[in-house]
Symmetry: C3
Subunit: 317 residues, 3 copies
Amino acid sequence: MRLGDIAKLLEVEFAGEDKEIKGLNTLLNAKENELTFISNPKYKKYIPDTKAGAILVTKNEEKYVPKHTTALVVDDPYWSIAVLTKEFAPPLEDTNGKDAVIGKGSVVSPKATICKNSIIGDNCYIMAGVYVGSNCVIGDNTILYPNVVVYRDCVIGKNCIIHANSTIGGDGFGFATNKIGEHKKIYQNGNVVIEDDVEIGNSVTIDRAVFGSTIIKKGVHIDNLVQIGHNCEVGEFSVMVAQSGLAGSTKLGRNVVMGGQAAAAGHLEIASFNKFAARSGITKSIKEEGKTWAGFPLYEHKTWLKLQGKIAKLLKS
Amino acid sequence: MRLGDIAKLLEVEFAGEDKEIKGLNTLLNAKENELTFISNPKYKKYIPDTKAGAILVTKNEEKYVPKHTTALVVDDPYWSIAVLTKEFAPPLEDTNGKDAVIGKGSVVSPKATICKNSIIGDNCYIMAGVYVGSNCVIGDNTILYPNVVVYRDCVIGKNCIIHANSTIGGDGFGFATNKIGEHKKIYQNGNVVIEDDVEIGNSVTIDRAVFGSTIIKKGVHIDNLVQIGHNCEVGEFSVMVAQSGLAGSTKLGRNVVMGGQAAAAGHLEIASFNKFAARSGITKSIKEEGKTWAGFPLYEHKTWLKLQGKIAKLLKS
Amino acid sequence: MRLGDIAKLLEVEFAGEDKEIKGLNTLLNAKENELTFISNPKYKKYIPDTKAGAILVTKNEEKYVPKHTTALVVDDPYWSIAVLTKEFAPPLEDTNGKDAVIGKGSVVSPKATICKNSIIGDNCYIMAGVYVGSNCVIGDNTILYPNVVVYRDCVIGKNCIIHANSTIGGDGFGFATNKIGEHKKIYQNGNVVIEDDVEIGNSVTIDRAVFGSTIIKKGVHIDNLVQIGHNCEVGEFSVMVAQSGLAGSTKLGRNVVMGGQAAAAGHLEIASFNKFAARSGITKSIKEEGKTWAGFPLYEHKTWLKLQGKIAKLLKS
């Protein structure tokens, strides 16, 4: 899409070359043929470092934009990027391209759907009602139980097991909101990458990234009814027990354990080998490895136990 | 169904005309060709105002029944209405009637099912494994991702997106219980109405009303694994984050935000522009608009933060 | 499988007869043609009572093994049993055997899948996208709504209703973990048994047992998005409200009520007629019947209310 067409769509003017824009991306990941945006003024210090070909900014931040980047000045960059994500969204399903390739020894139910440009590895078992969207890759020996849905562009590794009724790569929960409270969907044009040896339970939802990938690393085990938001990263051999959840962009290190109904807020980093008791509520990043936590607000588990003892004593006061 | 047949089924006698009863409804919504009931004595003051043709009451409440309404005196009106809901339940799927009408430009997967008497608007995209029950209406430009299930009689607006594995219009959770603890299902003969521009995530469950409609208003955004009970109403542009839930008959105003894993008890009214932090537990109606809340029990967010500080100090006591 | 082949697979030696081992089972349930294991030293006192034909033990516990049982000495019996569960897992779907038998009066959608060796009773309604695995039994008059998935070997009673997108018999969440944090799946070779008159909501997940059965007894009502772990037992007429959950091996008595988002830890026994308010967190067994509870940690409901009053007073301190 030409920058001129983008400007016309957003009803803004711009000075400079009418570049071809191939995609949208974050401030620090955008390449010279991509357009980026700055919505939180906190990040304005990174504007000079962007390699993006163009950027959506407010009048206030225009001055930080480097020379190689064309500024598009808008009232609300987040709303404007939402408008553009729709333009850059791929079709729901590819109608052109190659028929899916099915590896040798794989069983694919005639009641399953494998869309164009997808590749199924060897010795896979794809059961009835499964849907694998366009341009996906499923590794060797992977089992997709009935009615699993994999949205387009996702990648699943070898020796994975995904149980019935789970969804991989659904849209992340993203939208801009204007001053009168109306919302504009931010199309989620990234994907989900699941590495090898991962097992995922029933009715699990793992959202695709808005840009880039949501990543589930090697050997992770996920129980039923677990929610993983867009752009999360779940480290190797981590474990998420039933009904637990991660809000968007949170990263778990290796061998982290989330107990049942435990949840983490978004944009956190949790160091490896931390364990969270059932129903823990995590709102801050944790840098130290190997501790055990509980409660909401979160305490070290032994402290939480002590605190509950103190609270119980209030009954006698 | 004739009132005489109803009386026979319930093994009761009645005085008066053997009217034709066309349906069941609540005390204040029932029309003259409908039958109602009173299960909670708290509402007996409304009995004289009912327009119902007939009413299930206990011996104690018979005296409040107006002349135009025929009283059927039973031991347990709630159990008896449960018995009757089964008689008035429509078939699971219509076998008679018109084939579904598909609007122009719409894509319907051959692996989707659209039942009789349903109407799909223009430019919809109905993907593999979707089930749309009998007598549904789906508005223009709406996308149903794979394996979405819409139960019979539901209405979905224009420009909606419903993500994979979600269920619209499943039965509300209703049953009567007798003195020895046995349950009798209350068939849910209402529906779900979703207005325009609504987006619903993966594995969401929105239950149909027992009578009338569960309503999701224009522009609402719902994340994954959210539960909405029967007869709820979610106001315009409200937002429900992953794993949150509403018990039956609760009404959210406009632009209410329910954080992740937050939940509200049943029969509440929440004024517009209230925000609930993750894991809030709401047990009372809120009349004032525009506040921010947290915790369970629920406090204003700033009060909750202060309280957590006080609680933490107990560790030093 | 011959014990000699098992020993070879585990790279251990053994003294004694090269028996045929037909299956795996727990210490106290294993029969003479089955192999068992001891992973928690707490249970070593039961070793002399086992009837198993063979047992996986550490060097330390070998001395407790009775004469009729052959000891296989391994470093980590739990890891070794995990390795063996894969060998004893049945195929995902039977390819041999009888075509499914459908009872008279039953409606089975052409878009449903009923695998070999399964039996559907009379007057059932099996809707589009339903998957019933191999060797299942579905009782008379039972309704499976669209996209319900029943894994192989499960048994569902008469007059049951299972709502859309629910999964019965998915794998329990079980794996062994070695010293460097890698996991090994424990294949779940048991099943789920659902008795008569049970209603199950949308997107519910009820896991199959690792050995034996997960049991949902007569007349139970389960709301949407509920999780029931492997080897649980839910007593007659019990009720589980939306988004509640049971961890593995917990047993509820009769007429227990779990409120919305309430949850119980694993291996608990809850006496009949106990009620748990929404979001209760149960971590200990309850022997007394008929009480009402709330909170996490759990208190009697009236005590919890009193405690919340005391906590609120901290704001004034």
